[in-house]
Assembly symmetry: C2
Homo-oligomer: 210 residues x 2
DNA sequence: TGAAATTACCCCATTCTGGGGGAGTGGAAT
DNA sequence: ATTCCACTCCCCCAGAATGGGGTAATTTCA
């Protein structure tokens, strides 16, 4: 490994017990130091410049500004900061929103607290610490549904359609006539029971056909 | 935990040394048994029914049928099978393709082999075992680019456009006039230096604006 | 053999799109 | 206070795109 320095951590967690437990736990590691701990996001953001932290351990359900908004704001103020969510919720929406906004990890509180230091180390090694169920959730989000009623060619056409392409350009890309694409799309609409591009794309994405 | 039974593993790996090393390693665990080991995907698929395995540990770079195609085929023949890729390549394309086709984990061979059993256990616990760099790759794929030249409203419009919606339906959804949407889109095209919907969507996705 | 997939063509009407121009309001920053 | 930007809405125009109707040849695979 290269040069390692003590990483500065900020905690944002409204539950006093948990916050103090984390602080105690992290203080036991020589690699990390808790430079500050807040019970709400607003204060954490106000002191962001002064704290010069490397990592924020963030709760999602917070009084006032919620964790997702906080992630957005913090990343915007300093993109170099690494954010790890620590939440009781495993709500799919929240997980993906947090990741989209820039979280580098997502831990659920039911995970053994002994893993916290390991997670921080994993983060420092260029990883993305996640609880077991979150990792599965994230990986599953990539999985395509193999039980699609659409033929391979129809899937191909629908994917191109979903990328905003016109019938003509899809035809060009697939080296067939524009009328052929029209036929495919008619059949796709029948199979998906829709009557428009937007509905077809929505249904196909919802069912993970594409 | 509920009832646990010994999980049946199949290896698909063309390198004899690695294949045998894995076999030896896994045999040392009481929780797993290697029911078969193949040097190519075709044979593994031919014996899929007889092997009745729970988990396949798959290489990606194989002679003949490659690992991605093999994943597709195996998942199609038996969706219950769990697949974990073990590869030297960390190629982004390959990782995402493997996950889209149904892989539940992705390990790089440079990861300590001692972690292999841990990864299998993680899989059995409902997780998605990934090497450090793969986890980061996967999580990073969600991250949006905050340095977008587009305004919040423009991003909103572009997202709806990218979902296949027409100007009119976007207007309805945002409770504004269709002409307003047209104005936004004109400005989006100017900012992104494009002249069509498809180009705008492509550029926005490539740059992770949406 | 028979069903499904892939390819291609015709007609029609409506909507959509992209480009040109202009303009008013409000907020935020200088 | 003024300027810049975001957001809103309006006009004109021509060509492209879309959705629905129908038909049909070839191939592929079970």
């Amino acid at each position: 490994m290269g040069t390692t320095s003590i990483k500065r951590i900020v905690l944002v967690e409204d539950d006093n017990i948990i916050r103090e437990a984390f602080q105690t736990l992290i203080s036991q590691s020589a690699d990390f130091i808790v430079v500050n701990a807040y019970s709400n996001a607003e204060e954490a953001i106000k002191n962001l410049k002064e704290d010069v932290a490397d990592i924020y351990l963030m709760d999602i359900e917070l009084p006032g500004m919620n964790g997702i908004e906080a992630i957005t704001k913090i990343k915007q103020l300093n993109p170099k900061i690494q954010l790890v969510v620590v939440s009781v919720y495993e709500n799919d929406e929240l997980v993906f929103k947090a990741l989209c906004e820039g979280a580098s990890g997502y831990l659920t509180k039911n995970a053994p607290t002994s893993k916290l230091i390991d997670s921080l180390k994993e983060l420092e090694n260029g990883g993305a610490p996640m609880s077991t169920s979150i990792a599965r959730l994230v990986v599953s989000s990539f999985h395509k549904n193999k039980q699609s009623p659409l033929s391979p060619r129809e899937l191909e056409v629908l994917e191109l359609l979903a990328s905003g392409k016109s019938y003509s350009s899809i035809a060009d890309l697939l080296f067939v006539d524009k009328e052929t694409i029209r036929s495919h799309i008619k059949n796709i609409y029948i199979k998906l029971e829709v009557h428009s591009k937007a509905d077809a794309i929505e249904k196909a994405k919802k069912n993970k056909f594409i």
